[in-house]
């Protein structure tokens, strides 16, 4: 089985994100870029499937990113993935979600796969659309928000997280699954993994390599346009609960949390 994990390189989640007022894009060179934290769960899940049947399973990491994205691919390889491909081309800058999904679909067709694993969202643009769009363009079933994943023969089954529990969903492969944070605890890369990563292959492909239509990518090929942006308003003041009876106070805090579905 060939598993491909799609990963995005995003600005460090702790870093302050700066938007370029000219291009209306995130300034990615100003901050350290990291592996989209949501994608680490997808990598971990893929590695667990591979570790369960190492002779027959292969994990490939795929990303669309500038050349600096090589760093995050190396981290994924250090965690244990078998190889990686990077689609990198200056013409891709400014691509929107659909253009990204279009390119990913071509890329995955080019390298071939039985199971695609992705995160549920990126931490920078947070659209949460790429997985569904990608599955649609590949013409494969799309299983989203997996909090558990099992492969049996030629089909994949997930527990799909819902508000009040989970649904069991099954589909024949090839298929795409997006995984949630709760599914596992991603491993640290090991020292051997880091040292071994340089011996693993990272293929770098361009638009022509995958036969992409240049009019469908980049800012020009994107139908959505970021018109303007503004800073979010200051957060609303917190609620102060005052009660003379501590039990009454606790009760009201409890109700408050229940109301907001925090408990």
């Amino acid at each position: 089985m060939k598993i491909v994990v799609t990963v995005k390189h995003v600005p460090d989640t702790n870093a302050e994100k700066v938007l370029d007022p000219q291009t209306k894009r995130l300034n990615r060179s100003a901050v350290e870029n990291v592996l989209n934290p949501f994608d680490e769960y997808a990598i971990e899940e893929a590695l667990r499937l591979r570790d369960a049947s190492p002779d027959t399973t292969r994990v490939t990491i795929a990303s669309i990113a500038p050349r600096s994205g090589l760093e995050i691919l190396r981290k994924a390889l250090a965690m244990g993935a078998d190889d990686a491909v990077l689609l990198s081309d200056d013409a891709i800058a400014g691509s929107d979600t659909m253009a990204t999904a279009y390119l990913l679909a071509l890329l995955l067709r080019h390298i071939g796969c039985d199971l695609v694993l992705s995160g549920t969202q990126s931490t920078d643009a947070l659209n949460g659309i790429v997985p569904a769009a990608l599955a649609e363009l590949l013409g494969v079933p799309c299983l989203t928000f997996a909090k558990k994943l099992m492969v049996e023969g030629n089909s994949v089954e997930i527990q799909r997280e819902t508000e009040d529990g989970y649904a069991r969903v099954r589909a024949p492969m090839p298929a795409l699954v997006s995984v949630t944070k709760g599914i596992n605890e991603p491993r640290y890369p090991t020292l051997k993994g880091i040292m071994g990563a340089k011996k693993k292959e990272i293929r770098t492909l361009s638009l022509t390599d995958i036969g992409a239509d240049p009019t469908r990518v980049g800012a020009a090929g994107s139908k959505t346009v970021v018109e303007s942006f503004a800073a979010a308003g200051a957060r609303a003041k917190g609620t102060v609960i005052t009660a003379t009876d501590p039990r009454e106070g606790a009760r009201r805090i409890f109700d408050f949390l229940i109301e907001r579905k925090a408990l």
């Binding site: 760093e71 250090a78 640290y188 020292l191 051997k192 880091i194 040292m195 340089k198």
Partner: protein, 388 residues
């Protein structure tokens, strides 16, 4: 000259930082308070390959270089000096002798489990009567019927008694030359050797979560093949090991000094007095600036010594200088960090109080400041007698 780290060196430092922030820093205060050896965490470090970082893959290591190792110890030591010394003593003092002086068979038997992190190994040089004068060894090992019979004691030995300790390599007097001079050799003593016992851990001011014990050998017997390296070269060999060990103690000091700076600069920006954050007062700024400058220089000195070692060049003077300077920097940084915290810095709730207790050993262990200065004086050719 090139000060850039390679992508592997960066990745290793980053892994160590993530691991230290995620798995070590949150527990450091508690381990310190309870003087608890963090066994589960050390085992995890072994699984990640941190306990065999600079050894070749064929001996169970990760095959990384000394620069990476120094960066790793800095990051771990920044979160917890006790965990840092556990790692540094195991790698540089416990395991390195097998790599540097062991036969192929000894490497397979002792280095492989050590580098894989399955076992911790200790380095037994210091004795009650042989501290700075480390060649004044009194412990004896007599070869009889193909076995070494060991009698004597060692003190202040790191990692000697943890549940995952594999054993200790010691210096022992194995004979006398015709002019009566002691012949010192290195002998490997596995943990389960009959007649070899460890005391309870010492109660310490700092490095409280690290394991330090007194060892006693009462007719302890090991086979003849447990001789490490050449007979009679044991003291020389251990001095060579200490040359490399200084790089890791230097790195540990830099990590601790960095932790002091991080805590002090954060606090100085948050603490208001006279209507202003105390960081706005020049007297506080200058303390922070001095810390930052010294840490930068100490880090550079440690990494340079590590780099020289990686290039196969003579690194002994650079390592002694780096160890001496970093140790003093860590003590000054800890002192300033407590000063900037005022009375709060004197309270156990604040990590700087632990840093203050942890820093002092950096000026004592693996050769005191005075011994470093003597070593450097000799290397600079100032002493006449030994020349250089």
């Amino acid at each position: 000259m090139n000060f850039d780290l390679t992508s592997e060196q960066q990745a290793i430092a980053k892994l160590c930082r993530e691991f230290a922030e995620g798995e070590i820093a949150p527990h450091a205060a508690e381990w310190d308070a309870r003087a608890e050896f963090p066994l589960a965490t050390i085992r995890k470090m072994g699984e990640l390959g941190l306990l065999g970082l600079p050894f070749p893959e064929k001996y169970g290591g990760a095959g990384a270089d000394t620069v990476s190792y120094a960066l790793a110890v800095m990051e771990i030591g920044r979160a917890d000096a006790s965990v840092g010394i556990t790692m540094a003593a195991h790698v540089s003092l416990g395991s390195q002798p097998f790599f540097q002086f062991g036969t192929e068979e000894q490497k397979q038997r002792f280095l492989v489990p050590a580098a894989r992190g399955e076992q911790l190994w200790a380095f037994g040089l210091t004795e009650p009567q042989a501290g700075s004068d480390a060649g004044a060894t009194r412990t004896t090992a007599i070869l009889r019927d193909g076995r070494w019979i060991i009698n004597g004691s060692k003190c202040f030995i790191t990692n000697a008694g943890t549940p995952m300790t594999g054993g200790v390599t010691i210096t022992a007097v194995t004979g006398r030359s015709s002019d009566g001079k002691a012949e010192i050799s290195n002998i490997i003593v596995p943990q389960d050797t009959p007649g070899y016992r460890r005391s309870e851990p010492y109660k310490k001011m700092g490095w409280r979560a690290s394991d330090t014990r007194e060892l006693s050998f009462d007719g302890a017997e090991v086979p003849e093949e447990n001789l490490l390296g050449r007979r009679g070269k044991g003291f020389r060999q251990f001095l060579e090991i200490l040359d490399g060990g200084r790089i890791s103690v230097g790195a540990l000091s830099v990590g601790l000094a960095q932790a002091c700076y991080d805590a002090a600069s954060r606090y100085a920006k948050e603490r208001y007095q006279f209507g202003h954050p105390i960081a706005s007062f020049q007297a506080v700024q200058f303390q922070l600036v001095d810390m930052a400058v010294e840490i930068e220089l100490a880090r550079t000195a440690v990494l340079k010594a590590a780099w020289l070692k990686d290039q196969g060049r003579d690194f002994a003077t650079a390592a002694a200088m780096a160890k001496l300077f970093s140790g003093e920097v860590s003590r000054r940084a800890a002192n300033a960090a407590v000063q900037i915290h005022g009375g709060y810095g004197f309270m156990d709730e604040y990590p700087v109080s632990r840093y203050w207790r942890d820093c002092k050993i950096n000026e004592i262990g693996e050769g005191t400041n005075e011994i470093q200065r003597m070593v450097i004086a000799r290397q600079l050719g100032l002493t006449g007698e030994h020349g250089s």
